[in-house]
Amino acid sequence: MILEIDSIELYFSSKRILNGVYLKAETGKVTGILGSNGSGKSCLMNIIFGSLQPKYKLIRIDNEPILKPLYTINCVGFLPQHALTPNNIKVKTVFKLFRLDWLEFITVFESFSLFKNSKINNLSGGERRVLETYLILKSKNEIIILDEPFSHIAPLYIEKFKRLIAIEKQTKAIIITDHYFRDVIDTSDELYLLKNGCTKLINNLEELEDYKYLSIGSLD
């Protein structure tokens, strides 16, 4: 499956946030998006998912234009920047709703085995983030959008998620963004920089310094 996002224009009042965005994600690849704070990364992810309506957008799947929000055709999972799950719901209920296997989860994240009957709001912020990232990453969708999956979680879990992403990408198109640029670079097969409302395909990592996303020498 090939997902293409084109001609996106987003304004908040008269302020232009995105214009001329092009992005391609396909099954078997992780597409990374880098950008400074306020560059519109999260807006772009919300637009792809369908929870934010821009002035213009063109979304195609395998060259077919998709006019409905992607979430309504049940092909996309989206991990937003903020908490995803409702507070007063049990962990086991969330797994049931997402049709995921609890045992499979605790074989990867052993320390969570105590939480099966806990409510979501009894988990710490980081634990909740791990759980939510896992739910979306393993959900039965062909397109996965992850907004800051590496933020607020322990380095050990970051490594586990990198391995999980490498497995899941075999059957899914994954779009990822985070300020932990090294992790995004490690994980991604294709990389875009979002700057001045436009995406630029990064072919050489030094371009990140040229476009002043990173300071000179950051990649050494």
Binding site: F49, G50, G77, H82, A83, L84, I89, T93, K96
Partner: protein, 96 residues
């Protein structure tokens, strides 16, 4: 399909107690089905507006991940609520 219905019930659960309080008020003030349906419809629209105008709108992404749009979610809770309310009214009218 069952997962979606269960998710909708989870969304409705914290609203149930408020809805029940409104049902009691309706019984006291004007226990007619037509006015009850209109009242509940207006209350559902009010909750929708309240969620849209606050950052609680973010919470709806959980339901969207399960394929439930905002319109579907609120339509479903309106129907569930009306079903419960009318049942409650019919039972109470036996005692009035």
């Amino acid at each position: 399909m069952m997962q979606r219905f269960e998710a909708i019930l989870l969304f409705y659960r914290p609203l149930f107690i408020w809805s029940f309080a409104v049902n009691v008020l309706i019984i006291i003030v004007n226990p007619h089905i037509f006015t009850t349906v209109i009242t509940k419809l207006l209350l559902t629209i009010f909750v929708w507006y309240l969620i849209n105008e606050t950052n609680r709108e973010r919470k709806l992404i959980f339901y969207k991940n399960l394929g439930i749009s905002t319109f579907k979610l609120f339509s479903a809770i309106f129907l569930i609520d009306i079903f419960i309310t009318i049942g409650f009214l019919l039972i109470m009218q036996e005692f009035i």
